[in-house]
């Protein structure tokens, strides 16, 4: 249970936590958690949002102080708690999901940022910083222009800069918080190579994530947390994403393929030869009434760009789009909405919903005409409309006037879906609708999707998680490098086959 047994060959752990307890405002965030990492180990720490994994990292890095009785052993020293300074000095580094980099500063400054710290002013040694930075990048087998500002580089290179920064800090243990979330496949592969290099040189790496498919193969062990308690420590040998999901949620999802045959229904959307050079080429497909079309593919395959082109926010260079048989050209997404197309953004936090504003306002923003009476907006109509949607989609809310940010991810997503349903769409494009939604709440979202399809709505479901489209779509398009490379009917194929094709 505690993972002691799996300490390979009796090797002494680099980091060993015992009896970690943490309480926030009466809520137990961590209950008697223990956690071990071996030197040079590549370890996965998995758990849903709110399972306590980020609290655990913050305790290890000294941001939080655990309750009395905690024992933290790192590299032969024993502590009752860490401080940010001791954690960094003793070789613990975190690469946060947002990377905590400084875009306007140079690559060299970012990598050697530690040397700029300190209370009293000193003169900056730019030559020394440059040398150190180049050396750190060389250890990773990367060359970047260290004098360029970081903002000139894309996210994947920025992540490498963050790793290089950890190396300069003489890291013995590196935590990577959701490292692959915004990387394309080739970038992920490169990251994994770098992690192998690190591990070979004796640096232990812990991946902190709820999606571990990519990193499973190079990791040796897996620790799972649920509701602030340790579920167990497992060998990654033979471990699958679905097994991890079961462990994280404590539920088994016996998913069934929902695909139906809708080929007799009239066509809603017909796309032919759509091109936007550099993003997607020669895309043709149709979506029928009541059909759920899945589009999958890795990040950078052009899925979101395709969706934005259908939604009028990007202009395709060539090709035609027909809606119910009539060719359409959208000057903006307002035209698309008026024509009956709705698009649920993949980035719910910054594009999908207006986080500080109320639940009610977020719901009605796209359909203000519905709550207007003789030109003026009516509070009564707004309240009724919102109440109706909240009931229809089973959203758990306190008051309609509460900020949308007070809702859980799953409930926020329901409001976002309701916002679009209120515009009476003919076609609903769902772009990664389960991002940031707890595994347990995802099924609820897909139940709604299935119900909507039954009412005749045409749906495009975009996801980079193959199982999602496999179980929930009637037909699946596989996109890669801007092209549709294949089409599957879930009924005819096994999940493993399709996963192998997409992740290959």
């Amino acid at each position: 249970m505690t993972g002691r047994e799996s300490a390979k060959g009796g090797q002494k752990p680099l980091l060993s936590l015992r009896n970690i307890n943490m309480t926030f405002g009466g809520v137990k965030a961590l209950k008697h958690v223990s956690f071990d990492v071996l030197p040079g180990d590549v370890h996965c720490l998995a758990g849903e949002n709110g399972s306590g994994k980020s609290t655990l990292i913050k305790i290890i890095t000294g941001v939080y102080r655990p309750q009395d009785g905690a024992v933290i052993e790192f590299d032969g020293q024993t502590y009752s708690h860490m401080s940010p300074v001791t954690a960094q000095n003793s070789g613990i580094q975190v690469i946060w999901q947002d990377l905590a980099l400084f875009p306007e500063m140079t690559v060299a400054e970012n990598i050697t940022f530690q040397t700029l710290l300190g209370r009293w002013p000193r003169f900056v040694n730019y030559n020394g910083m440059r040398e150190k930075a180049v050396k750190a990048l060389a250890r990773l087998g990367v060359t970047l222009d260290v004098d360029r500002p970081l903002k000139d580089y894309a996210i994947a290179q920025r992540q490498i800069v963050a790793i290089a920064r950890a190396l300069v800090g003489e890291a013995k243990l590196v935590f990577m918080d959701e490292p692959t979330a915004s990387l394309t496949q080739s970038e992920t592969d490169r990251l994994l190579d770098i992690v192998r290099t690190l591990s070979a040189s004796g640096v232990a790496v812990v991946f902190v994530s709820h999606r571990l498919a990519e990193v499973l193969e190079i990791s040796s062990r897996l620790t799972v947390l649920r509701d602030g308690a340790l579920v167990g420590v497992y060998s990654t040998e033979g471990m699958t994403q679905s097994r991890i999901t079961e462990l994280m949620t404590g539920k088994t999802f016996d998913q069934t393929v929902r695909a139906r045959d809708v080929s007799a229904n009239p066509v809603v959307l017909e796309v032919e030869g759509l091109c936007r050079p550099g993003q997607f080429v020669d895309i043709s497909f149709t979506v029928r009434r009541g059909e759920t079309l899945g589009i999958t593919g890795l990040l950078g395959a052009g899925r979101t760009e395709l969706a934005l082109s259908l939604f009028g926010m990007l202009k395709p260079w060539s090709g035609t789009v027909k809606l119910e048989g009539k060719p359409v050209h959208f000057a903006s997404n307002r035209d698309a909405i008026a024509a009956g197309i709705a698009y649920l953004s993949e980035d719910r936090l910054s594009l999908g919903l207006i986080q500080p504003q109320s639940i009610a306002d977020n719901l009605v923003i796209a359909s203000l005409d519905k709550i207007a009476a003789s030109g003026l907006l009516s509070d009564g109509r707004k309240r009724d409309l919102v109440a109706q949607w909240i009931a229809d989609l089973g959203v758990k809310v306190g008051k309609q006037e509460d900020a949308i940010s007070t809702l859980s991810g799953g409930n926020q997503q329901r409001i976002a879906i309701a916002k679009w349903l209120a515009t009476d769409p003919k076609l609903l494009i769902l772009d990664a609708p389960t991002v940031g939604v707890d595994v347990g709440a995802r099924a609820g979202i897909f139940d709604i999707v299935a119900k909507l399809a039954q009412t005749g709505l045409a749906i495009i479901l975009i996801s980079d998680e193959v199982p999602e489209v496999y179980f929930n779509a009637d037909r699946v398009l596989h996109m890669a490098k801007g092209r549709v490379v294949n089409q599957f009917l879930p009924a005819d194929r096994s999940l493993a086959e399709i996963e192998a094709a997409v992740y290959a």
Partner: protein, 333 residues
């Protein structure tokens, strides 16, 4: 070369614009393109440049300050009173008093911003009204004309008559301005604390995670601007040879426009001393040139306003569009 131009696009663009304006003006007027005029320009721009480099530090740290110009007025007035009460004083004591008072007023802003989490524009609009209201209330708007002799007599550090008959001179304000500019440059580009300020303005949350002392950053940034405001205030009194309580009222927005024209970003993390100086110079060169070209003084500000409006519009439609060779190769952001 291309790399230098790329990383200093704003400064380069400003330089080109200044060069073009200068060439045009030197054709229109015969007096513009003379060394004497150039030094005149420096003399008259000194105070604004001192203010500008101070404000630059606050902008880099992600703040904004509306109150510094009236703070400078308060410093002028109080310093004049203190010096009179001390029975004279001199440049050293004058600068020390002015600097210390300025730092104090800046620290009040930093205290409100840090301690009570009031955002800087709200806090400094409040202190703007407090400083100015109290100054006008206690002084009843009365100016001070009998300043100590050392403060009002012109200090010429270097003068020479040129072959073309124009007279060049370097006065004390120019020297003080140069010291302030170099000190600010060294501070923000060559010291660890200066780089911490950039980092804090660029990504406050990231800076916090590295254990950078956020409160100290606020006090340093607003303290530096306070110091510059104090020094600038004293120099302005020296230059004008009088202390008028509302003389600097409204200067804050002019300086802000010049600093932002020089490439500093509202929101922090970006801006250079060179750009900031060029921003001030662009405005004074334009005014000076229009003056020499015989344009009505009432039209200056209109033209300057139009230039800034166009410059801001163009700089936001991105310089890369206008100068294609600067386009970045790896343009994915």
């Amino acid at each position: 070369m291309r790399k230098v131009v790329q990383s200093h696009a704003t400064e380069f663009a400003l330089f080109v614009v200044i060069a073009i304006i200068s060439i045009v003006l030197s054709f229109i007027t015969d007096r513009f393109f003379s060394l004497g005029n150039a030094f005149d320009l420096l003399n008259t721009s000194s105070v604004n440049i001192i203010f500008a480099v101070g404000l630059l530090v606050v902008l880099i740290a992600g703040g904004i300050d509306i109150s510094f110009a009236v703070a400078a007025s308060v410093v002028q007035y109080v310093a004049a009173l203190v010096l009179g009460w001390m029975g004279g004083g001199g440049w050293i004591s004058g600068l020390l008093i002015a600097g210390a008072l300025g730092v104090l007023l800046g620290a009040i802003n930093a205290f409100l911003i840090h301690k009570f989490r009031i955002i800087s524009i709200v806090a400094t609009i409040a202190t703007f009204n407090i400083y100015f209201g109290l100054l006008m209330f206690f002084t009843r708007g009365v100016s001070i004309y009998n300043l100590p002799d050392w403060l009002t007599s012109r200090v010429v550090l270097f003068e020479r008559e040129m072959a073309d008959g124009s007279w060049i001179e370097v006065t004390l304000p120019v020297l003080v301005m140069l010291i302030c500019v170099v000190a600010t440059w060294v501070f923000i580009t060559r010291t660890t604390t200066g780089r911490q300020l950039y980092a804090f303005g660029d990504n406050p949350e990231g800076a916090r995670r590295f254990g950078i002392n956020i409160g100290a950053m606020q006090f340093i940034a607003f303290g530096w601007l306070g110091l510059m405001a104090g020094i600038g205030g004293l120099i302005q009194a020296h230059y004008a040879q009088e202390v008028v309580p509302n003389a600097l009222y409204g200067r804050e927005l002019d300086v802000l426009a010049a600093v932002v024209l020089g490439g500093a970003r509202l929101g922090g993390g970006k801006g250079s001393v060179l750009g900031c100086v060029l921003g001030v110079l662009l405005i004074s060169i334009t005014q000076n040139g229009l003056n020499l070209a015989g344009v009505s003084p009432y039209a200056f500000k209109m033209i300057v306003g139009a230039i800034i409006l166009v410059a801001i519009t163009l700089s936001n439609t991105s310089i890369e569009k206008l100068l294609p060779f600067m386009r970045q190769v790896e343009g994915r952001k």
